[in-house]
Structure formats: structure tokens, C-alpha cells
């Protein structure tokens, strides 16, 4: 890529900025992937104008065709902003990349107008294509990263939401577990249980597994780990909500739960917990 080529393109862009913006705007807005429900026309226009300014500025100072020089820093920052904000708004990757790719047509149009020499025109078109493709890929990459961040944050939130620790009574905690118990889930369960033990001074915790669909050796191991960790902090655990078929698998797998108190229902476990903490609930005679 010759610098002269880029320099000339930049000049043409600055000269015909208005025409390009108009055409680009209408391409974007008429595009099949334009999500008017997610972004306003005004926003698109502002982003476009700002991008074009930075883009022509960077072109003017372009030093190599890899776009790695610091003359492209501002463009990259703006594109990253645009991609991330679109990723958060729920645009698809192609919606996001369209922002860049739809600039090709207007730039080709003005190139045809301004460069009459066929050889130069060919070079100019090639340069535009190379640069816009690189920028387009960049938006997709940033978009991807943005989505990954959103997904991992949501996973973490889901984990925390799905494992509440509730105080049932003075000194008694309950953890209603729902869904599969894997190692990252166990980690969160343990951390929130132990923290709650510290915060409430509870001496007994009921792990209710009514909502756990299957208990295999691994799940049983995770349960036992949680029990052991609570015990190290001075709290005993009761496992409740063991359904008949789960009891069968546990015995069948040879998992040793003898060191843990187990009860069929949360209510049974609660009674044991009350007894252990020397408390009693009585019916009031009316």
C-alpha cells in the first residue's frame, strides 16, 4: 500500500464528507440488519460522522497496511466503543460489522468520481477494501470479547442467585439447592454458606437437595466437602430432601454418608436442628 494512495483517499474523503455521510447513513438505515428498535437514527449519524473524521485523519498519517501504528489508536478506541455498546444492546455480530462494511459502497462511489485513471482507481479501491476489512474484523473481535464478558458475568450472577443461604431460625441456616451441583457451583455454595455462618453465628445448616435432579459420586463428594468445610468453622450440617431413588443411587454407588445426619424432608431436618440448638416451637392453645 502506498502512502500516496492513502493520503489521496483521505483528501477525497474530507472533500466529499457530506456526500459520504449521507450515502453511508442511508445504507446503514436501509440495511437489512439495522435494528431501529435498539438504536436511534441520530445515534447512528453521530457515530458515523465521528468515525469518518477519525478515519480520514488516520488514513492521512497511515504508515503501514497492518493498521498497527498509533495513528489508528483513536479509530480503534471509537470502534471498540461502538462494538461494545452494540454488543450490550443486543445487536448480532453481523449487525455490528455492517457499520463498517456499509461504508465500502459510498467510498467506492466517490473513488470512481475522483480517480479517473484506471490503474490508480484499482489501487485505491484495493486499499479501501483492505483497510475496511481489517476494521470490520476488529469490530467483530471486540464484539465477541464484549459478549464473552457479559456471558461470564451472567454465569457468575446465576451461580450466586441459584444458591441462596437463608436463616430459618436463630442459629439455623438452610440452603435450598436447585439444579446440578458441579464443582464451580459447590465453590459458590461453600463460600456463601461459610460467610453466612460467620455473619449469623449459626451452629447448624440444612442442605436441602430436593431440587437436585441426580446425585452421583461427584455430587455426593461435593456435598461432603461442603459439610466438612462447615464443620471446620464449627457448624454441623444436615442433608435433607433425599428422595427414594436418590437414596438408592447413593447406596448403590457406595457413597458413605454415615458421618452426616440425613433426613427425608426439610421439616424433619428443621426439627433436629431446633433440638440441637435447644429450641422448641409449640402450638399455642387458643
Amino acid at each position: 500500500m502506498t502512502n500516496v494512495g492513502c493520503d489521496q483517499i483521505a483528501q477525497v474523503i474530507q472533500k466529499d464528507e457530506k456526500i459520504i455521510l449521507e450515502q453511508w447513513g442511508s445504507y446503514q438505515l436501509s440495511s437489512f440488519t439495522m435494528r431501529r428498535d435498539l438504536i436511534s437514527e441520530n445515534e447512528v449519524k453521530q457515530e458515523s460522522r465521528k468515525f469518518l473524521q477519525l478515519f480520514s485523519g488516520a488514513l492521512q498519517n497511515n504508515k503501514n497496511d497492518k493498521l498497527t501504528g498509533n495513528e489508528w489508536d483513536d479509530v480503534r478506541v471509537l470502534l471498540a466503543d461502538v462494538s461494545l455498546s452494540r454488543a450490550k444492546k443486543g445487536f448480532s455480530p453481523s449487525d455490528t460489522a455492517t457499520f463498517i462494511f456499509s461504508l465500502k459502497q459510498p467510498l467506492f462511489n466517490i473513488a470512481r468520481e475522483n480517480f479517473k485513471d484506471i490503474a490508480i482507481l484499482a489501487e485505491v479501491l484495493w486499499n479501501i477494501t483492505v483497510i475496511l476489512d481489517k476494521l470490520g474484523l476488529y469490530t467483530t473481535e471486540v464484539y465477541q470479547k464484549g459478549r464473552e464478558e457479559i456471558i461470564s458475568r451472567q454465569q457468575q450472577e446465576m451461580l450466586e442467585l441459584s444458591t441462596p443461604v437463608v436463616q430459618l431460625w436463630e442459629g439455623i441456616l438452610a440452603l435450598p439447592m436447585i439444579g446440578t451441583l458441579d464443582s464451580s457451583r459447590t465453590q459458590v455454595v461453600m463460600e456463601s454458606l461459610l460467610q453466612e455462618i460467620v455473619d449469623t453465628g449459626a451452629t447448624i445448616a440444612i442442605l436441602d437437595i430436593t431440587g437436585v435432579p441426580t446425585v452421583d459420586t461427584l455430587v455426593a463428594q461435593h456435598l461432603l466437602k461442603t459439610v466438612a468445610a462447615a464443620r471446620l468453622m464449627g457448624a454441623d450440617c444436615i442433608i435433607s430432601g433425599i428422595r427414594p431413588q436418590i437414596a438408592q443411587t447413593i447406596v448403590h454407588l457406595g457413597v458413605d454418608l454415615t458421618s452426616v445426619i440425613t433426613k427425608a424432608t426439610l421439616a424433619d431436618a428443621f426439627l433436629v436442628a431446633l433440638e440441637r440448638t435447644k429450641q422448641k416451637i409449640v402450638k399455642v392453645a387458643v
Binding site: 461459610l194 453465628g201 464443620r231 468453622m233 464449627g234
Partner: protein, 119 residues
């Protein structure tokens, strides 16, 4: 400092571990406690580890040993104040300190010892 102070309160011996112990300090503590249990005919030992940021298998073994030794010398041991992160790490390490009594804090630890001594 090569030795961790042991406080005597009636029939109780109280130890608060405040430093990141190197191995010799841990071994000294084990010896000192055994000697003092025998000397004062102590009935209960309370070890506060709330200041410990980590417990590795060496310290874990020392705690188990102390509990075992004091049981033989007819004294009860309670370990109190383990931090949540330490408890999680110990379990992951495979060290569950079976046979060692635990409590959340010094107060609850003393309660346990009092109840145990009444029997």
C-alpha cells in the same frame, strides 16, 4: 520469637496463634502444650487460629496431633476462629481434621468446653 505463649485460666489453657509459624515454632507449641497439660492437669485446651491466613498440611497435622495428645492426657481441645477461605482450602487439600472439635469463635468454644466439662 520462637515460642507461642500459652495462657492458663483455671482448668483451661488458651493459645492464640498470631504469627505465620515456621515449622519449629509449630513443633515447639506442640511440645509446650503437652507439657503444660500434664503439669497443670488442665482439662481443656482452646486454640484460636482466627489470625492464621493459611493452614497447610503441616500446621493441620500439628492441630490434629495436639487434639490427639490432649485426649490421651484427658483434656478436651477446641479449635476456634478458622477463616472461611482456610476451611475451603483445607477441605480441598483433603484435610478435614476429623476428631478435632471446632467452634466459630472463642465465646462459642468456651461454651462447648464448659458443657463438655460438666458431664
Amino acid at each position: 520469637m520462637d515460642r507461642i505463649p500459652i495462657l492458663k485460666m483455671g482448668e483451661h489453657l488458651l493459645v492464640t496463634i498470631q504469627v505465620d509459624m515456621h515449622d519449629q515454632i509449630a513443633l515447639n507449641l506442640q511440645d509446650d502444650l503437652t507439657n503444660q497439660i500434664a503439669k497443670y492437669k488442665a482439662k481443656a485446651v482452646l486454640i484460636d487460629i482466627s489470625a492464621l491466613e493459611i493452614v497447610d498440611s503441616f500446621i493441620g497435622r500439628m492441630i490434629s496431633n495436639i487434639a490427639g495428645l490432649s485426649r490421651i492426657l484427658d483434656a478436651q481441645t477446641v479449635v476456634v476462629g478458622m477463616r472461611p477461605a482456610v476451611a475451603i482450602t483445607l477441605v480441598e487439600l483433603g484435610l478435614t481434621l476429623d476428631g478435632v472439635r471446632t467452634a466459630l469463635n472463642v465465646e462459642k468454644g468456651l461454651d462447648i468446653l464448659r458443657t463438655a466439662l460438666k458431664r
